[in-house]
Amino acid sequence: MGKRKFVDFWIRPNDADALKEMCKRAFELGYSALVVEVPKNMSEGLESSFYEYGLEFYKKAVVSARTRGDVLEAAARLRHNYDVLTVHCLTRDAALVALRDGRVDTVAFRPNGFMAFDRHMLSVTRNPIELTLADATSDKATLQKIRALVQFINLKGLSVVFSSCASKPVEQKGPLEVACLLNVLGLNFERSLDALSSIPSNILARNRAKLSGKMLQEGVWLAED
């Protein structure tokens, strides 16, 4: 098995300087790709920071959804403009749609939204669940909820992505540290590493192929000459 390629699946810098510092720190910590929730005021010239440190750059849209319609509208509007689409669900209805919609990449479970799982949701789940380090370090109640979710994910074999959701370099942590935290919360160590490497990498590769036209539909690739 080759060396793992680690991805920080969600950073949200406030400005270009913060982004540059976060790129440097991610490189030092051993990440090879960053997924950035780009603020509206800094949409151009972002790639140069990434090229300087040899990191791959991906753009992410995060949508808070309260109803089924919010999820469907966001998926139709944003899917073709961003590499990654994450839905942060505020209600169970929104979560049910987001978990099974093929256009959604990850479903974020955060403390200010809906943060539970039931049997019906389990039966329709197709997309990975995204949990963040920023939430895990916020307070005790959230850490307990995340622990319950992680144990459920481990038990049912669901797909999970763990990201930093950092807005400053000091909030970024190395892949080993994050994997150890997930392991202590109840996820198998190999799966903890997968949550930071193979699962996000596969999502990014699939979406880039779709956006560039190399993948026509799920599993249908254009043959190269």
Binding site: L29, L133, T137, N183
Partner: protein
């Protein structure tokens, strides 16, 4: 009684220009570990601050529970009122090997 195996964990503070106080760091690690794994978990990990310089620390712990120590260090957000992050740079079985790896 089986011999207890240890792991030595090298931590470095980020930002690098920060100067750490030994008692503050030790208190932060202890409280984070107790918060995460409780008193019994703390006893299993059995942490010990081996060495400390301006912005780096070496901690010894039980080898079977090194992930708990690393997870607890991950949760630390501030030390003595300073916002910082403690990064795990190396983990080794002996102090001599750890310091050799760090020098390289």
């Amino acid at each position: 009684m089986p011999r207890i195996r240890h792991r030595y964990v090298f931590l470095r503070a980020f930002p690098e220009d920060v100067v750490l106080d030994k008692s503050d760091v030790w208190r932060a690690i202890q409280s984070s570990l107790q918060y995460l794994v409780g008193a019994l978990g703390y006893a299993d990990v059995n942490p010990y601050l081996v060495r400390m310089q301006k912005n780096w620390i070496v901690i010894r712990c039980n080898s079977e529970h090194v992930r708990k120590l690393i997870a607890a260090v991950t949760l630390i957000k501030d030390v003595g009122g300073k916002t910082l992050s403690l990064d795990v740079l190396k983990v080794s079985g002996t102090l001599r090997a750890l310091l050799r790896k760090i020098k390289h």
